[in-house]
Symmetry: C2
Subunit: 314 residues, 2 copies
């Protein structure tokens, strides 16, 4: 028995992170077809674009899939209406108050999972009645919590605090890390970085290749005054760091960030001027694979690591 | 077979971190007597004080113990001579170049372990011929690496890069985390925070009680321009943050830090003006225990978590 497999009706307790400019219908359906749970990342989509992705995803898979919605998104209510209209059954919400839409979504037959990064929001999510939580550590790519709690510290802490199913996220890229996360108390894992650069990700090839070349120390959590985000170091990142050195104000940082930087970097492949979001685990990702190859490899490595465990003689 | 147990001749692959103002002979000998490896933290000791602690430790235990030496310490050569003169058999070096003293120590019959926080220094340590490495993640307390790589990302990466034994450190406070670290590839674990506030730690009771009350998000890695250090948030920490907000220069930060802050906080128990070093895992430490109680509990929980693993059905 595994609570995450049961909750979603999936073969493996592996969730693909909803990621702007990476996870459209093609990635989400490929992950779901491979036995995981695919998520359409709606954060980079206009409402009608989201509707199109949902329609295509339904055609591409008969397996469960979901939509990730950042609650701070300006068109959030339109997104939610489209999700309900199109009969989506699973929503992962993030970046906001889980109290606001959880009941409404559930009344419409939707399973709701909220992403948290500390105990306080885990307890708020339980109060809001969510069906499960994603506990995301500091090492995760993209937008991140301000407390900087790592996966190794976050998962056992949250396990001790809540009784609902927990999906561990942040730093999980292979079967060893999946097993470790489950030792810490997680029921399943959410994997972002590895799927962000796989074959079915809609990210630009330049971005994928840049990630394959990344070494450890290649990312940094920056822009904490605006909204903390883990980025690959590139020219754009260096400009941010120079602004910090020059004691930039928040307004100057916002101006520097501007608009459309993530699209420019991850979708259009501009490696110098674009914002490149990825997790620390990128240092261990070095080849192009399909979603199915990734999932099969993770499950194989998980089982190898699990059978190695009996040799741990302490 | 376990490489760390064999290397040191100890019962459990649990190393107590060498911690200034916490780990004198009393803590080190208690941990060694309980089946782990105790370390005297020499970073806060004058040479003759170190000699005294080594002498007392030898009297208090017939089990293996070691000394931790920060290589940037001004009296480092005097420390090394005392370690050799007193017949210490195990040295953990940190904060410096492992090339400088490893051979010399080994020629004097000493097992040398170096603390690293990224791949680059792991490979340098292998080149220097160290017997093992401690791979320490971002979540660890006290002084820390600049790349901010978390334990979850660091351990599998280093496991793939080196063949010598690996001791995982950072975020490890219980049996679940110990098992997780070993799933990631570690041969053993180093635990700091939990021993920093145990009965035999020489830290002040005020500090220990403050740690027992700490929630998640209570620590932060700060002073990165001088030397990155993870601190509990208190008045002194708030002063540092205010200095940052006021765009303080490095000299101003150094003046604010001053001298003796760690002693004032951890040893003298001044919770407002002192520097309080502890790891993120402090949010899960909430009671006073002896070293032996801690080690026995970790091993019990490790074995429970390990036997639960066969129920992980993915």
């Amino acid at each position: 028995m595994n609570r995450i497999k049961e909750l979603f009706g999936i073969k493996y307790p592996i969730i693909q992170g909803g990621m702007i400019w990476c996870s459209g219908w093609e990635l989400a359906s490929a992950v779901s077809n491979a036995g995981g749970l695919g998520l359409i990342g709606s954060g980079s989509m206009y409402p009608e674009v989201l509707r199109e992705h949902i329609k295509k995803c339904k055609k591409a898979t008969d397996k469960p899939f979901g939509v990730n919605i950042p609650l701070i998104y300006p068109n959030i209510e339109k997104h939610i209406q489209i999700i309900i209209d199109e009969g989506v059954k699973i929503v992962f919400s993030s970046a906001g108050n889980p109290n606001k839409y959880t009941s409404y979504l559930q009344e419409n037959g939707i399973i709701v999972v909220h992403v948290i990064a500390n105990t306080n929001f885990a307890l708020k999510s339980v109060d809001a009645g969510v069906n499960a939580i994603v506990a995301e550590g500091f090492e995760a790519g993209g937008h991140n919590g301000k407390d900087e709690i790592t996966t190794m510290c976050l998962i056992p802490k949250i396990t001790d605090e809540v009784n609902i199913p927990i999906i561990a996220a942040g730093g999980i890229g292979d079967g060893r890390a999946m097993l470790a996360a489950m030792c810490l108390g997680a029921d399943g894992v959410q994997i972002g970085s590895r799927f962000a650069v796989c074959k079915e990700s809609s990210a630009h090839e330049n971005f994928k290749n840049y990630v394959f070349d990344a070494k450890d120390g290649a990312t940094d959590l920056t822009l904490k005054e605006i909204t903390a985000v883990r980025l690959l170091k590139n020219k754009f990142y260096q400009n941010i760091q120079e602004a910090y050195t020059a004691k930039a104000t928040i307004k100057e940082l916002k101006d520097l960030l501007g608009r459309g930087r993530a699209k420019k970097g991850m979708f259009e492949g501009n490696l110098t001027e674009g914002e490149l979001e990825i997790g620390q685990v990128s240092s261990m990702i070095n080849k192009m694979q399909t979603s199915k190859e990734i999932i099969d490899e993770i499950i194989d490595d998980f089982n190898i690591a699990k059978s190695d465990l009996h040799t741990f003689n302490v």
